[in-house]
């Protein structure tokens, strides 16, 4: 599948945004962050910023952004619609939570209630995003049990890493919890991605040139001539192929930049405070986000679509 910049940016940014929102909501529920503090508010605004930037980018890549409002209507069947509804619905608790954090004198019960809702919204939205891909049968690389955990874990890993970076300077319990949460998510991500790639490398695609044409009974099926000599929309959209060699290298980058480096940086930073901790936290967050971008690029670039079986692909 063609790795489109806007979709990569959208899924990474909104994933990290919801992850951060979830992390902050969690800290708020446990009571490690309380209204009135500058950093939590900054964190919430950052989360909202990431989410909004992601959503905007996804809207702008539409053929008709001005009709985007129509996308909320089909939540009964469409995960894209559900994602839209969930993301908008999540704004309510998220913005409210941010508003609550402006002043110090907010009842804790209210904060907890709103944070729980924000957490749930964040998780639900990321699940919806993942389900958009998970539900696409023609794309074997997505239509499997790895997709939803993958999105959730990377969202959490990047969100918690950012949260850690935010609080690292304080050396507070919030930093500890965010940091440990991040390390857990990053480790899970490391394992999950490896499992996913193993799956990808061994699984047969959902269909073959023989089943796509129904000509398997005659023998092996090969494309002789495509319908047109130049590429078309389907080939441009679904026909992206990444060389095996490149994919291997990129996978290593994902593992190192996306998981190993941030986890080590956070592990080093835990127990420290001040500038060095902030530095390590920032390294962790930036590295995790970069890793996520590469991971997402691969998620698209490595995915094959059955439609390409009609254009010479030998497997799907």
């Amino acid at each position: 599948m063609h790795p489109s910049t806007s979709v990569i940016f959208f899924t990474v940014a909104s994933g990290a945004g919801y992850g951060l929102l979830a992390a902050l909501a969690l800290l708020a529920v446990i009571g490690l962050i309380v209204p009135g503090g500058g950093l939590p508010l900054l964190g919430l605004l950052l989360a909202l910023g990431l989410i909004t930037a992601g959503l905007l980018s996804s809207t702008l890549h539409l053929g008709h952004p001005e009709r985007a409002w129509r996308a909320f209507s089909q939540w009964r069947s469409s995960w894209l619609s559900r994602e839209g509804v969930a993301s908008v619905a999540t704004y309510l608790p998220a913005v409210l939570l941010a508003a609550l954090f402006v002043r110090a004198d907010v009842p804790r019960g209210l904060v907890v209630a709103v944070a729980v809702l924000a957490f749930a919204g964040a998780v639900a939205t990321v699940v919806c995003t993942a389900m958009i891909y998970r539900s696409l049968k023609p794309i074997g690389a997505w239509h499997n049990r790895h997709t939803v955990p993958g999105y959730l874990i990377i969202g959490a890993a990047t969100g918690f890493a950012v949260a850690y970076a935010l609080f690292a300077g304080t050396g507070s319990s919030a930093a500890w919890v965010a940091g440990i949460g991040a390390i857990v998510a990053l480790s899970a991500g490391f394992l999950q991605k490896r499992a996913y790639w193993r799956f990808l490398d061994t699984e047969d695609g959902p269909a073959s040139p023989e089943s796509a044409t129904g000509l398997g009974g005659i023998g092996r099926v090969r494309l002789l001539d495509p319908p047109h000599t130049g590429p078309n929309f389907v080939m441009r959209e679904m026909g992206y192929a990444v060389a095996r060699r490149h994919a291997e290298a990129l996978r290593r980058i994902v593992l190192v930049a996306g998981f190993v480096v941030p986890a080590w940086a956070i592990a080093l930073g835990l127990g420290l405070a001040g500038g060095l901790a902030v530095g390590l936290g920032t390294v962790a967050a930036v590295s995790a986000l970069l890793g996520a971008v590469v991971e997402r690029w691969l998620f698209f670039a490595e995915a094959r679509h059955t439609a390409m079986l009609y254009y010479g692909a030998t497997r799907s």
Partner: protein, 955 residues
Amino acid sequence: MERLDPSPPVSDEVKCTTCYMCACRCGIRVHIQDGQVRYIEGNRDHPVNRGVLCAKGSAGIMQHLSPARLRKPLRRVGPRGSGEFEEIEWEEALGLAHSWLAEIRGRDPTRLAFFTGRDQSQALTGWWAQAYGTPNFAAHGGFCSVNMAAAGLYTFGGSFWEFGEADFERTKLFLMFGVAEDHDSNPIKIGLARLKERGATFVSVNPVRTGYSSIADEWVPVRPGTDGALVLALIHELLRARRIDLDFLAAYTNAPWLLIEDPGGAEHGLFARDGEGKPLVADAAGALHPWDAAGVTPSLTAAVTLPDGRRAKPAFVLMAETYLDEKYSAEAASAVTGIAASRIRALAARIAEVAFEQTITVETPWTDWRGVRHKRFVGRPVSFHAMRGISAHANGFQTCRALHVLQMLLGAVDCPGAWRYKSPYPRPTPPPIRPGGKLGETGPNAPLPRPPLGFPMGPDDLLVDAKGRALRIDKAYSWDAPVAAHGLMHLVIRNAWAGDPYKVDLLFMYMANMAWNSAMNSAGTVRMLTDTNEDGSYRIPRIIYADAYASETVAYADLVLPDTTYLERYDAISLLDRPIGNAEGPGDAIRHPVVKPDRDVRPFQDVLLDLGARLGLPGMVREDGSPRFPGGYADYITNHERGPGIGPLAGWRGADGSKHGKGEPNPEQLARYIENGGFWKMHLPDDALFMKFANKAYLDHAVAMGFMGSAAPIVLQLYVEPLQRFRLAAMGHGAKQPPDHLRARIIACLDPLPVWYPPFEGAALPEAAFPLHAVTQRPAAMYHSWGSQNAWLRQIHGENRLYINRGTATALGIADDDWVHVTSHHGRITVQVKLMEGVEPSTVWTWNAIGKRAGAWALDPRAPEAMRGFLLNHLISEHLPEADGGGGHLNSDPVTGQAAWYDLRVRVEKATLAPEATEPHLPPLKRPPGVTTPTGPLRFGAAFGRSPENRKPRP
């Protein structure tokens, strides 16, 4: 939920005319909305396409709206090929053309060479050339399929090419040789579908398994140029198995006619004749009779002594002697063709089984020309069709003849289930027209006594001077190509450039892209068109070209006459040319303007008649010198008479439109055609539908309609005597003899019984150096070069690859998508390959005419057609390799002069570097004035959509 109108209005009006996206002549219904063409569909009532429409026809809108359309007459202002033109007014253009033409005609009309393409107005252009007085006229047939036309017309007065069709409704076994698409594009597809529906068997003999061959029940991957050997082996097997139709041969062919056996004599191999010149036959007792004598049963075997003491034997015996020889065995053919001997035998057995054990009948009584009444038509349901895979070889005439002999042996000619004549064929074998322009028949301001093209019966009809040199610029009807019934268009530019046999002053071309895809040696042709004498003048002094689009050739003209598109003019698809008749009856058709041109262009036929009138050509002016057809081509179509009562159109003749075939001109004729959907079709009487060559009802009908002068039967020519006359000359008899270097070839190749000989190019080259055959195929969705300007079709075929057998490629270290050098004895091209299974291992092929010269056709100069498309033509030479010993030999069939495109031999080597573009890459052409490459999206149809207000593009 969407509100959807299931019944939107389709168009304001529908006009019926004839397609011209190719030469198939399908009927179309053009939907016009707001004065614009909205949709074109097939005309259900039309006899050719019966409602269907091919890809090209369906893309007619884009051809009509092509940005490459020329807009105004052009006069060259820069050097030839620079593309520098100025737009001029028609009056100036016509004045210029007239002054050139008039000067030449007053001096020596043969110094005009007038050559046209696939224009469907050859009845007009040929007549014009005759009136002008130049023999140097022909259309595209010489490089197209004259082998098929000539072989058929000399054999049975019809042909695979255009003048016949398989009886798809009844045939049980259909064998197709070397056909990718053909002129009968839609009818063949409709026919194949009917075969499939009926469960009949379809065999395709073709080195490539695509298109029609892909749906064949049997694909026979023959090595190019060897079909003759295959067919003669089938004949051998049938003779050996005694599976031939003797009654048919005795009754309807010249098999019983007696051949003089007088080796070394001047009449050896000619028919023994009586005092009136009638060929003789012998009866079983050995008594001689004129072949058509009443009550005689001719013997097929009786050898006799003629009254003058010479021996004679039936042509049949010579045929049997010849083909029973082991030289023609399946084993021998297998070594040549690459087809297993067992498969050849099985094919022969299958053919015989269907012909003789699965006969069918049509229960209509009929009477033959002798007056014998037959209770029914008996059909041998084996049918054949062949086209350029056979004809585009230097042995194509004889291969086609071999197929016709096979048909005769089976008795499968024009009977139910077999190949059938398209009315108005059959014609006499050959038609009684001899080429005009012999010595003394041309002169200042004088018309030719006969049309320039015809059918020679022997050396006397050749157009050669006292020394045997060609009188025509293309050497048609010379010893190089004695039966060149369509001329040799592929040699005109080369010969005019070389002054061989002489120079011309004006080259006048119409609708043929001679500077590109219809030329052999395209790059060389371009050089010849621009080559200059020492004084700087052009070697071809003047060139006028009439095209509708900015083709490659436009750039090389001095004067460009812009034509209309096919939806903007009148045309006649005439019985005098290549009509739309079929086996069920004759038909013809017109085109008429369904939309008005938005440019300053004129139909070429109007222009030609205008020039004819200005020149005062006979038939084109009245007594007072005023134009005879002031109303242009429409006027001519209606009022011109070729003979009394015979005009371009056969329908609704007579003052009141009540006559068909023959009758006085009818001023309302065109209106009647338009009312009837643009065509006229007549159904033959049931008893005239088959065996037309010998069927009294048919022959009488043909005379009444004006198709034939007399109701004499058409005797199928197993043995083609005129060829023997050329051979006798080559053996040293008669006043007109060929030059020495051609004698042996004429004796070997102009055999009156079909022979197979290896194609010349391959024979002249070391096999190891050029091990592969290279051929082209027509893509169904593209017409030669002119489809590339079509926004829709060019998406389907925007570039081409060289297809090569996977095994062959692997052995050469070539992988899919590799770039390769393809080298012939003449040149080299560098192109990209595509590997495939379904191609004979020694054959490589590509689609014809996809490659374009950069800058032509209003395309971006970096268009894929120019960057990744290519032509094989750069590899093909007009002449044979020197190794042959006769360097001057034409790369053409020695009988007809047909261009031997498919004799091309090459080697293929992997290119180490992928070039930026296919090579050779000629410098880009400049676009003529008024022609630009549009940019931005093409939103054709937006204005017609269901709710146009909602279709506005995004801001």
